[in-house]
């Protein structure tokens, strides 16, 4: 197990470096001079040159990259052009809110997805299976930013039951676990949960269906094992794959919630990102994407290790 962990960690390093290179290059593939956003229009040549030197933009790209990464590993992601505050502070405040949303969505999505997938796989080719399959494919096909708007139309505009935006009453300041705040969490997290429900249900259905058609299940049944015990064997076989799909989905929820956060004005990383895009705040854009991507890489690592821990076949390969 330890050797596997080390191997996996060594493998993550080049990926993390690659991710940082892509994030670094984002600013440089942007059309126009990155300085134009910060410099006054009437700046002289000398002032521009001084600014360029101050930001290190006069150095060759690899050197700039080295400086940027060197600062990034110490937690310094530069300053936001729009607010002047450190990017790291902004990103971490926002990521906390995104995590809250992503976890709540997972708590809604995973049990439902697992249950539906399992039932459909168990009753393969029956009416139940068809109904679940239809529901799941609707879930993966729906543009969730549209679903969010539709839910707002139904539950906020028409019925007036739930708030349509923000993370809490009276602006979106600190989060608290009270009813007023939880009401704000319902619509965005339900919206965000729909796609993972569909994906988890589809995967688990195929998985469970395949396992039930394996010879060992028939052998267990033939020797007279009770259905519940057979089920235990099936679950044990399905668990590693189901777990990895759910882990990946959690990563997707965090990185992919940008559209939902925009729809609901949820003060998370996605909302921060869309503000950064809107204001062409490149350091903020770069920092947010870097943090989200590294979180996703870490998530994948955890999933792989957890999968290896419960499935002895993986460590050997």
């Amino acid at each position: 197990m330890f050797a596997y962990l080390v191997r996996r960690l060594i493998y993550v390093l080049p990926v993390a470096i690659g991710v940082s290179i892509i994030c670094f290059l984002l600013v440089h593939i942007a059309p126009g001079d990155p300085l134009t956003a910060i410099m006054p229009v009437d700046a002289t040549q000398e002032e521009q040159a001084a600014m360029r030197a101050a930001y290190g933009l006069d150095k060759p790209l690899p050197v700039q990259y080295a400086i940027w990464v060197g600062k990034a590993v110490t937690g310094d992601l530069g300053k936001s052009i729009a607010t002047g505050r450190p990017v790291a502070d902004e990103v971490f405040a926002a990521v906390k809110n995104s995590l809250l949303l992503a976890f709540t969505a997972s708590v809604i999505a995973f049990p439902i997805g697992l249950f539906l997938g399992f039932v459909a796989g168990y009753f393969r080719d029956t009416l139940i299976d068809r109904a679940v399959t239809a529901f799941a494919i609707t879930g993966v096909s729906v543009p969730n930013y549209w679903l969010g708007i539709v839910l707002v139309i139904i539950f906020s505009v028409t019925l007036g039951w739930l708030p349509s935006m923000g993370a809490g009453p009276g602006g979106s300041g600190a989060w608290a676990w009270d009813f007023a705040h939880i009401k704000h969490l319902i619509l965005p997290s339900v919206t965000l949960a729909v796609v993972p429900i569909g994906i988890v249900a589809r995967t688990v259905r195929a998985l469970v269906g395949d396992i039930f058609s394996m010879d060992f299940v028939q052998a267990l049944q033939a020797k007279g094992m009770r259905p519940l015990d057979v089920l235990r064997h099936v679950i044990r076989n399905a668990a590693p794959t189901a777990l990895s799909v759910m882990g990946l989905q959690l990563g997707y929820l965090l990185g992919g919630s940008i559209l939902i956060e925009t729809v609901f004005n949820w003060p998370g990383s996605g909302f921060l990102l869309s503000n950064a895009i809107f204001q062409r705040d490149l350091p903020l854009l770069q920092g947010t994407i870097l943090v989200l991507a590294l979180f996703f890489v870490t998530m994948n690592l955890i999933v792989d290790v957890a999968q290896a821990a419960i499935d002895p076949r993986i460590k050997r390969s």
Binding site: P14, G18, I21, I29, S141, W146, I149, G251, T262, A293
Partner: protein, 295 residues
């Protein structure tokens, strides 16, 4: 010209392919859901292409007094948008850009991704390492995040959206192509073909392509729905198609403010995205079972 003789010999199994494809076609036609979805997608594409000949209102003509009219308003069967433009016309014209930006990147990614995956899978060694490790890096980004990152760096615009979405879908297709190619490559008949003097290009063209393109193609069709949703999503965020072009994601965004006035008109562009993406998914599922591809 022994090579041509070789090729003729080697090409023998490929001639049986039409039998396989007509079987796929026959099985596909027996699937009513997949056929219905294909018809709907084709109708949407045809309506988008021939929009100017359908006798619709001008999709750009705004009217201050006819803003946000409800569905069924005289002269505007699906109402009007926040600038008084005809929704029906804009939804049909909107299919032009949405379907174009939603489907073309998958086609481009299919071409580039398959090529990369074939090279990596067939050549192996350090070439494989370089290509596949680069692909791994792109896998470290959730697809939505990657599309948004590249699009926001490049700026809004149709070409930029095409570029960023193509980049998003090359890595997954390359990965599928690589694993399909690598598994075919280790089969004995490839060794036999090499032993009888077939060049790499010939072997790939004659023996490998026919066996791997099917699975890659099915996989690529399963990405079209995601690509549509992402393409419209980019416009929804303001980093895709620019106004005043009719585009479903963009329309959904500009109509968001109207949900208190005329909610169901505001939801229409998203409904179009949903219908198209659902049909693309069901079509892909039908194709998958008709071609009997497993994951």
């Amino acid at each position: 010209m022994t090579l041509t003789a070789d090729q003729a010999d080697l090409a023998e199994p490929v001639r049986k392919a039409p039998g396989y494809w007509s079987g796929v076609f026959r099985r596909f036609l027996k699937d009513p859901v997949a056929v219905t979805c294909t018809v709907i997608v084709l109708l949407l594409i045809l309506a988008a292409i021939f929009a100017p000949y359908l006798g619709l209102n001008d999709p750009y003509k705004a009217s201050m007094i006819k803003r946000l009219k409800p569905i069924g308003y005289p002269g505007f069967p699906l109402g009007t948008d926040e600038q008084g433009r005809d929704m029906l016309a804009r939804l049909i014209y909107g299919g032009r850009l949405t379907l174009f930006v939603g489907l073309v990147p998958v086609v481009l990614a299919f071409v580039f991704g398959s090529t990369l995956g074939l090279i990596a899978g067939y050549v192996g060694g350090w070439v494989n390492t370089v290509i596949m490790r680069t692909v791994d890096i792109f896998f470290a980004f959730p697809s939505v995040l990657l599309a948004i990152a590249i699009s926001s760096a490049l700026g809004a615009g149709i070409v930029n959206s095409l570029v960023s979405l193509t980049i998003v879908f090359i890595p997954p297709i390359a990965r599928v192509a690589e694993s399909a190619t690598a598994s075919v490559r280790s089969l004995d008949y490839i060794d036999a073909a090499r032993a009888s003097g077939g060049g790499a290009l010939t072997i790939v063209r004659v023996h490998v392509l026919g066996n791997v393109l099917g699975p890659i193609f099915v996989y690529a069709t399963s990405l079209t729905s995601v690509c549509m949703i992402l393409a419209a999503g980019l416009s929804f965020l303001g980093i895709g198609v620019r106004p005043p072009e009719p585009e479903w994601g963009l329309m959904l965004n500009t109509l968001r403010t109207a949900i208190y006035v005329n909610p169901w008109v505001a939801a229409l562009p998203g409904l179009m995205i949903f219908i198209t993406s659902l049909c693309l998914n069901l079509l892909s599922d039908g194709l998958r079972s008709a071609m009997n591809v497993k994951d």
